[in-house]
Structures are given as structure tokens and as C-alpha cells.
Subunit: 147 residues, 6 copies
């Protein structure tokens, strides 16, 4: 059985994240959306709020689980028996970052492979940072939150 971890801050979970998760579900038996919590950094939403939001989005799928974790992604992956890590790729800057992360994770946990999904072009500009900026300015973030 294949189990993919989809790690991120998800503050908040964007339409781009949603798209990646749905596409991952077509490839893996189980998908664990893993909300990385950095206790030193206050987010816009609490980890619990993010978890509840994502769980609601995937309420219809019993193959999706939503978790929070602290510390290294590889330690979380080990704890759930993940076989893969899945991440989205929006542009060349993302690539440099994700490639290094993939190799770091492989060095620490060789049995878990990283899979990169190219962002849908109409969602490639969407980031959690952008959504937070729109929300802070009182703008309408709805089109950035769901497809």
C-alpha cells in the first residue's frame, strides 16, 4: 500500500494545495496532509483551524487524513509509514528549494521517495502568503482558496 505525505504550513490551504492533493489521491492509496507547526512563528490561523478547514474539504474521502506535526518532515513520515512525499512545483525558484529538500529527505530517510507535481498554470501564482495579504487588506480571497 502506498502512503503519501503532503507536508506544508497550509496557512491557509490554497486552491493550489487543493489541486495537488486531489491529483495525489489519484496516485496513492492513502494521502496524509501534514500541517507542519513552527512554534516560534505565529501564523494567521492556528494549527487546529487549518486542520478543521482541510478536513472539511476532504470529508467525502476516507483515503485522506489530516495531521499536525512538529520537527522534521522525515520523522513525521517515519511515524506514519509514508512511502512517498508529494509536493507542488510552481516555478524555477520552487524547484531549487524542492530539489534540495527532496535530497535532504532522501539522505535521512532513503526509503521514502519525493514526487513533484507541476502546478496547474492558472493556479501557479497562488501562495499562502498572497492569500494572507489579500485577507489582511480586506480583499476577496475566495477564488484563491478553492478551485
Amino acid at each position: 500500500m502506498s502512503i503519501a505525505a503532503f507536508p506544508g504550513s497550509f496557512d491557509p490551504f490554497s486552491a493550489g494545495h487543493h489541486d495537488i492533493a486531489q491529483r495525489a489521491l489519484r496516485m496513492f492509496d492513502r494521502l496524509v496532509i501534514a500541517i507542519g507547526v513552527n512554534v516560534e512563528k505565529k501564523g494567521l490561523y492556528t494549527a487546529e483551524q487549518r486542520k478543521a478547514y482541510i478536513e472539511a474539504l476532504f470529508a467525502a474521502s476516507d483515503r485522506v487524513e489530516v495531521c499536525t506535526y512538529e520537527g522534521l518532515t522525515v520523522d513525521f513520515c517515519k511515524s506514519i509509514g509514508a512511502t512517498h512525499i508529494v509536493r507542488g512545483l510552481r516555478n524555477a525558484a520552487d524547484f531549487s528549494f524542492e530539489y534540495a529538500a527532496a535530497q535532504a529527505n532522501k539522505a535521512m530517510l532513503p526509503d521514502v521517495d519525493t514526487v513533484l507535481l507541476p502546478a496547474a498554470p492558472e493556479l501557479a501564482f497562488v501562495s499562502s502568503t498572497l492569500i494572507r495579504d489579500v485577507l489582511k487588506s480586506g480583499g476577496d480571497a475566495a477564488p484563491l482558496l478553492s478551485k
Copy 2:
């Protein structure tokens, strides 16, 4: 009439910014240099100092206006009736960032188009961060501030 917004932090306005603004003036009827103010982040110069500095640089041109704004760039653009957003491009990392910003702005404000001007090679290394570092170290930032 074409009206270009040139948004940035401009803390301070560099020789590279100056070059972009002058080239934009050759393309657009009016140029609004828009100083984005982030109330959560204390800059080296106040928004008023930055504004006064840029206004002095363009005192001779009645087609240039200098403004400060808070919040989303698209909201500012709407408020001034901008037809274009102009930004400089120094390298491939800049490109990834600016491409995402251009698409985000287009999604939120479809009638305003983004125009990217490649930095002059002799100014491509100049950034406001570098100038602040030079100033903090007591160095001579003059060649980085004006062409």
C-alpha cells in the same frame, strides 16, 4: 492616456529604480511611483523620507507622481486608474517572483497589464538591501543611489 504604477518599498530608491523609472517615462504618459508601506516592518527610512527623496529626483518632470500606499498593489492601482504596472528584472530569481506577482495581479485586476524591464547590466547587482548594508557599515553608497 496610459498610467503606469511603479510599486516597491524603495527603502531607499536605488540607481536601479531610478533607471527603471526613467525608462518607464519613455513609454507611459504618466508614472506613479508607489511606495508600499508595511506597518509591521520598520524600514531604514520613513515613508515620508522616501517620498521626499524620490520627489526631488523627479522634480523636473510633471508626468511623475510619488505616492505611498498600504495594502494590495491592485487596490492602489485601481484607485489611481493605472493601466500598467512596471517592474525591473535583474535575474532569474527575480523573474520567478515577478511572474507570480504579475499573474496574481492580473487575476485580481484583469485590465492592468504588467511590464517588465530588464535591469541595466551595470546596475543589476544593486538592491535596497545592499544599500542599507553599505550605509550601516559606514560605506559610500552614492554610486548605488544615482546613475
Copy 3:
């Protein structure tokens, strides 16, 4: 009066090229679409076919002219009195190429400035090479040719 040259091989002129040209028309008084002809390289379409195709697309606009040229882009620009060169940017690889071209052109013809327009995300994958591949395979290239 501002005159922009939009140079390329345009073999064929794609939906992406069409988008760039239309956006350039919003910025410049005149737009000269300049089909670069490389006599050493046989294209899919002749220069005349490309010219006729593009002219038909812009038949309604008297501010657009379509030309063919051989040799350096800067020499063509000089011959038509261009004030700007306009080009599309689809990705980071494009950027490296276009940045070098912009600086080369500036070194040879300092008075003509290069303006880069970020490709619309839904068209960023479109290239003349792709269209030629689709046509050779008997596929339907229509969605790649016009918006």
C-alpha cells in the same frame, strides 16, 4: 511617437504571440511585427505565408505593420525608427535568453529599449515548435493558434 518592434520567427505565429502583440498595442503608438528570416533554415511556412497570416489577424488595426527582415534585429530596428523592442517571457529559461538579447541589443543600439511582457499563464506552454509538432502529427493546433 513610440514604435515597438516585435521580432521573432513566427513559424507560425502562436496564440501566445497574438496575446503579446495585442498587449503591446495598448502601450505603443505603432507596432511592427518583424518576421526574422534565416535563409539557412527552412521553416514550416515561408516568410510570405507567415506575413499574410499575421496581416490577416491584424487587418482591423491600422497601427500594426508586418515586415520580414534578414540580419540583425538592431539593424531592422534602426531602419524603421523603432523606439522599443517587445518580447514575451514564458519561464526562467526564456529569461536568461531574453536578458542576454536585451543587453546585446542595447550595447549595439542604446536608444532602443527592450520591454518584456510575462506570458499569460494559460498560454505559457505554447511555442511555435509545439505547434509544428502538433501539425506534423496531424493534430488539431487551432487552440494554440488563436485565443
Copy 4:
């Protein structure tokens, strides 16, 4: 059932390709290694030689099939009922190319998703071009051909 197409020229199939194929086998029920044949371009090996070589490598796996095809990758994918396309990513230049290809394929065949696997760092420099250069110079290409 998931069926991944792994398309390429594979002239020859490198240690890097081998690694990608083995990792793809851990994700998909079936893997079809698809040798794209360009009749206008003479390769170092014939399509039949490449096919025989790859088949020998995967003789032990009944979930792998090796095919040759002409024309568009999407047409081949449709003919075999592929659910996914898998490709390796070695560097940022690869990314720009693969991102455009992924979007082009999605535009033409929306039901087939592209999955990108980051190259193993110790194999990221390996390319078929390099192997051909080594072979032409009488060098030892063995370490580049199998892991």
C-alpha cells in the same frame, strides 16, 4: 489501475533513466517505457536496439512494457490508456522545459497527469548526450549506463 508512460529518446537509456523507471514502478501498477522515434534524426542506436536494451534491463518485471512511438506523446498515451506521464528532473533548466511540456500535454489530454521525479544527485549530471560523447571518444560509459 494506474498506467504511467515514461517517454523519451533513450539514445541510450542511462543510469538516470533506469533510476526514474524503478522509482516509477513503486508508484504505478504498470509502466510503459515509450521510446520516441524521430524519423528525421538519426540516433546512435536504432529504435530496435534501444528497445531490446531496455527490455533486457526490466526482463524480471512483468509490470514493465517497452514501446516505440512516432508523433505526439499525448497520442501515444491515449493509445495505451495511460493515466500518468512520468519524467525526471535534473536541474532548473530541465524544469522550465518539463513544466511547459506538462502543461502542453495537459491542455491536449486533460485526464493524464504529469509526475516529476527529482534525479538522484549522484546521477543528475548523466544525460544520453554525455554517454554518446563518451562512447564516440572511446571512453568507458559503463558507470553512466547502470546504477
Copy 5:
């Protein structure tokens, strides 16, 4: 006599830094490993700890010196009579940053040239940030700290 400065935060000095320093020693008569101290930013290790750690690594080489400095790298280079600055390059994002830094340093100190060494592929994912994350999570950072 050639004197290379190898500047960085080195919080901590990684296996990647170690590799770059050893390779630099094969090119330059003297190597000065220069720990840049940012008084506004609290690191994981103090400047003294970093210095002691690096000195221990190079205790056997009398051509290596370890220093701490505040302010601009160019000012430090001038103070030690450096002829070169050496830096590692891990990926395209690094390149954009290092290229700008090299040009900035050259503009301020034309006689000192920057030399970039491509990271060993098996170490290209190693960063001080990664090591700090591993240490904070109670993981084993030893393989990231020495070759």
C-alpha cells in the same frame, strides 16, 4: 601570493563548507575563513563557538586562518589583503544570489575577484539551516557536518 577569503555565517560550518574550503586550499596560497557576524541576529552558535569548531577542523593546515568580522565583506577583504573571494554554488537560486554579490563586491573592490565552486552533488542539499533544523529536532546531524 594569493589570499582567498571564504565568507559566510557558518552557523554551523557544514560538510559542504568543509568541501569548498578544502578545494579552495588547492588553489590559493592562504585561505581565510571569515565568519560574518550579524549583531542583530542571534545564531544557534556564538561566533566564538563557530570559530573554535572551524579552527579544530583545519588545525593541521598552517595555510588556513579563521576570523570573525562585522560589516561589509569587502571591508574585511581589504583589511586582510585578500586577492579573491571564494563561494560555493549549489543550485540556480544560489547562482542568482552569488552573481549579484560578486558584482556588488567587484564594484566596491575591483581588485578582488570572486571564484565560485560548484558543490559536490552529494552535498548540494546541505545547508546550515537544514543542520539547525535537524539539531533542534534532536536528529543526528553528524553526516551533514563532516565528509
Copy 6:
């Protein structure tokens, strides 16, 4: 004694190549400018013409040698006892190519290290391809050929 090979096609040797070679001379005891000859590809200049041109440029330096070679760069490096390979870096696209080449060469010849020199910004747009285009169009290539 350090011996650097500076390999390239040099068809022709540009102002950018000249700059890299002069900077390499400040780092290495000997510099061997190595003109790679591809018998399958007719250049603008013959290998002998390129060699004579470069030799004339460095006639005053007895630490420079100019050679032609066929086949793999690593085989040439071995034949001259090179300790280093030196190459220029103009942009992020160059980096992807040069990084792969450096790792390929290291895999085949571990004792020879690759050193990358960032191009001078005012020369970063110069390429042999550009110079050939200018020459074919009857333009003045002099500023591109020497500093």
C-alpha cells in the same frame, strides 16, 4: 604547480573569454586555452585560425598555452596534467549546463576540480554566437572581441 584548462569552442574567442582567461591567470600558474574541435560541425573559423588569434592575444604571457583537442575534455585534461578546469558563468541557464558538466568531469576525472568565474556584467551578453551573427550581417564586432 597548478595548471588550469580553459576549454571551449572559441569560434571566435570573445571579449568575455578574454576576461575569464585573464582572471584565471591571476589564480593559476599555467593556463591552457583548449579549443575543442568538433569534426562534424563546420565553424566560422578553422581551429588553426582560432588558435593563431588567441596566441596573438596572449603573446606577452609565457604562462599561457593554446591547444586544440578532439574528444572528451577530461581526456585532454589528463594529457596535459591539468589540476583545474575553468569556465565562465553568465546566467542561470549557463549554470545548469556548467554544473552538470562539472559533475560529469569530476565523475570521470576526480582529481581535476572545476572553477566557475562569474562573467563581468558588461560582458555577460557576449557570446560567440552573437559575434558570428554580427559578422554575418556585416556589423562591427570589434567591441565584442576585445575589452
